[in-house]
């Protein structure tokens, strides 16, 4: 028998591989109770691995009837099992919240007895938080695959985000490590919630009072590097799911090997593919915010992302015909395609150039990565476009050999050393 502290350790440890950490997108205001949603989310602290902690992320229980090889809570794994009562979860959430430790709750669970039984328990927690505690903070709830539509729809009335994880990016891969699971059982709850969100939005056009239903939308997660998919496979699946289910986010989680018995999965002790995960997130951003289409970044001739440079730079080097881009005349959509230039800096450039043509020294101060961008853009006082005619020299100038096991931090993996310039000319 363990005490409450031990239970918390077990059930928090088991929940941490579900990496979604967002507390943004909620619209809840405090009405007669406690708590509200911050529209951009708040990271209350960060773990020693650098990830944000904004929610109390726990499993209701880590007992599970399934045996998925990549999961730490799989049936055949010899670990301590525990379970929270509804009251315990509610009390813990409220006490952490009142001390401003968290933005809210992230509740998941192993499947105990059946999908419906598990989903019903989760529902009792969120219902009690909203109706009895008058809690208006953020709640992220897992949708259990196989749970009935009625249960899913009722849960949606109480929570801000719902998610269900694909885990393995392809059906074939999934069958190798979790033969009891399939992608269809993930698609069904995503479809149910999506349909209900759309239906309620329609109702809002004619009725004034429509209940809040999953205001922060849905998300999913894919594990990277457990089974041998290419980056094209992964982003292809992500792209399709974004379109089909109006997802707010797809998360890419580098696989942490924890199963010493399965020979198909990477060995315990193998480092998780953090750099690859970082490049996938950058690609995800390019598709959603920078106007790129998937086949510009990944296609059958180019199935995997470079690890040693960010995907926008890699695209620019493959497409020298578009450069240099004149920042004083080009559209915003083209300025954000310059390597080293983000949306905020692009916006500053577009606003500032109304007052006069911008020179290099002005643009340098606007927050761009100038040593990278200089090869691809021209300002009012640029002498001539440097290097765009020589993609290979530019690549050599900007890429340094990655150190093995170096933790990912994309903006510093590109060499910004000026001395390389001498070898260009």
């Amino acid at each position: 028998m363990f005490d409450f502290g031990d239970k918390l350790q077990i059930l928090a440890d088991a929940a941490k591989y579900d990496v979604s950490c967002s507390s943004s997108g909620g619209k809840r205001k405090n009405i007669g109770g406690i708590g509200d949603s911050s529209s951009s989310g708040i990271c209350h602290t960060y773990t020693e691995d650098g990830r944000c902690v904004s929610l109390l992320k726990i499993l209701m229980t880590n007992y599970c009837i399934f045996d998925c090889a990549f999961c730490v809570s799989r049936k055949s794994n010899d670990i301590q099992r525990a379970a929270f009562s509804v009251k315990e979860v509610v009390e813990l959430t409220m006490n952490f919240y009142r001390r401003n430790y968290i933005e809210g709750l992230f509740l998941s669970s192993g499947i105990f007895k059946s999908a419906d039984y598990t989903m019903e328990r989760l529902m009792l927690v969120v219902k009690k938080l909203r109706t009895e505690e008058k809690f208006h903070g953020y709640i992220h709830l897992k949708a259990i695959p196989g749970a009935s539509e009625a249960l899913l729809k009722e849960a949606g009335l109480y929570v801000d985000r719902m998610s269900v994880n694909l885990e393995i990016p392809t059906e074939e891969g999934l069958k190798l490590v979790a033969p009891e699971k399939d992608h269809q059982s993930v698609r069904e709850p995503l479809q149910t919630i999506k349909t209900e969100i759309i239906a309620l939005k329609e109702e809002k056009k004619t009725m004034k009072k429509v209940p809040l239903f999953v205001p922060a939308g849905q998300s999913t997660q894919m594990v990277i590097g457990a089974t041998g998919e290419s980056d094209l496979d992964i982003m292809g699946t992500a792209n399709e799911f974004y379109k089909s289910y109006n997802l707010k986010r797809v998360y890419y989680s580098g696989y942490i090997p924890i199963n010493p018995k399965d020979s198909l999965l990477p060995q315990v002790g193998t480092a998780p593919p953090l750099q690859r995960e970082n490049r996938l997130y950058q690609t995800d951003w390019l598709l959603r915010f920078y106007g790129f289409s998937l086949n510009e970044i990944l296609n059958t001739q180019h199935e995997n992302l470079e690890l040693d440079m960010d995907p926008k730079l890699a695209w620019a080097i493959r497409n020298p015909q578009f450069f240099p881009i004149d920042i004083n005349t080009a559209s915003y959509q083209w300025i954000i395609r310059i390597p080293g230039v983000g949306r905020q800096s692009a916006n500053k450039i577009v606003q500032a150039r109304k007052f006069g043509k911008l020179r290099e020294d002005q643009v340098k101060k606007m927050g761009i990565a100038f040593n990278r961008a200089k090869y691809f853009m021209s300002c009012a006082d640029s002498v001539f476009g440097l290097g765009f005619q020589y993609p290979e020299q530019v690549r050599k100038a900007l890429v340094k050999q990655p150190l093995i096991g170096e933790a990912s931090d994309s903006s510093r993996l590109i060499s910004e050393v000026d001395s390389y310039q001498l070898t260009l000319f």
Binding site: G35, T45, T47
Partner: protein, 252 residues
């Protein structure tokens, strides 16, 4: 010429009024405790007159609107002489040249203005995240912070809206003042000798019976949710700089 004002925003704006009425637009606003020496520069104390403050503020609103005024206030809260001087000079420009487009990022003063505001807002966001309440035996939730900039005025609305059903007190230990919410309204409070001891984290409060238990649970949670195989202390410290650790339950 140093203009010595009382440290409040109204006082700061009165410096602008004074500069125009005396034609001393090259002045530098500062606070008495910040001034190194008056040996090489003359100084003039500036009194805070509410009517003068109102006049300047109304004129500001006509030219740059409510949004622009918020920006000048946030720039002021940076609590640094060079930010004050930059804002002061921009306000002089505003009234001298009749227009001042705050979107002209090419101008170095405007760029510095926006960069300062960005720093202040980052600290504001951090404080929303890093405030850690302790519950005492009177059901009051107390927190101590030591922010780089004077962001306390910017976060009280947030805490009042969120924690509407509990009494709370947030105290800025560097600037020696705080705000207290008593379930109806928020009031400014200043330290009294009985309230504080010399050590930074010991307010004389008797804690709620379960307070220590929840602090331990939070520390346990913080440790359990960490993934050892992804350890990256550099990234961790970048997000949670060490100067905040002493007020964070999980790091202390």
């Amino acid at each position: 010429m140093y203009y010595i004002f009382d440290g409040t925003y109204a006082g700061y704006i009165c410096c602008v009024f004074e500069a125009f009425s005396r034609k001393e637009i090259d002045s530098r606003p500062t606070r008495l405790d910040l001034i190194q020496t008056t040996l090489f520069f003359e100084s003039r104390p500036i009194e805070t007159h509410p009517e003068r403050f109102q006049r300047v503020v109304q004129a500001m609103e006509k030219k740059i609107g409510h949004a622009g005024m918020k920006l000048f206030y946030q720039n002021f809260l940076a609590d640094e002489e060079k930010a004050w001087l930059n804002g002061f000079q921009l306000l002089i420009k505003l009234f001298q040249t009749e227009t001042l487009d705050l979107k002209n990022y090419g101008d170095p003063q405007i760029l510095q203005f926006h960069q300062t505001i960005k720093k202040v807002n980052r600290e504001r966001h951090r404080m929303k995240a890093f405030v850690r309440f302790m519950k005492d035996s009177n059901e009051l939730y107390t927190a101590i912070i030591e922010p780089d900039f004077n962001v306390l005025p910017l976060i009280i609305d947030f805490f009042r809206n969120r924690y509407a059903d509990q009494q709370w007190l947030i105290y800025d230990i560097r600037r020696q003042y705080g705000y207290h919410y008593n379930l109806k309204e928020v009031q400014e409070v200043f330290s009294t000798a009985e309230m504080l001891t010399d050590e930074s984290q010991s307010l004389q409060v008797s804690l709620d019976l379960k307070e220590e238990e929840y602090q331990i649970l939070w520390k346990k949670y913080f440790k359990s949710t960490n993934i050892e195989q992804r350890k990256n202390l550099k990234l961790h410290i970048r997000h949670v700089p060490q100067r905040y650790w002493k007020y964070l339950t999980e790091k202390s």
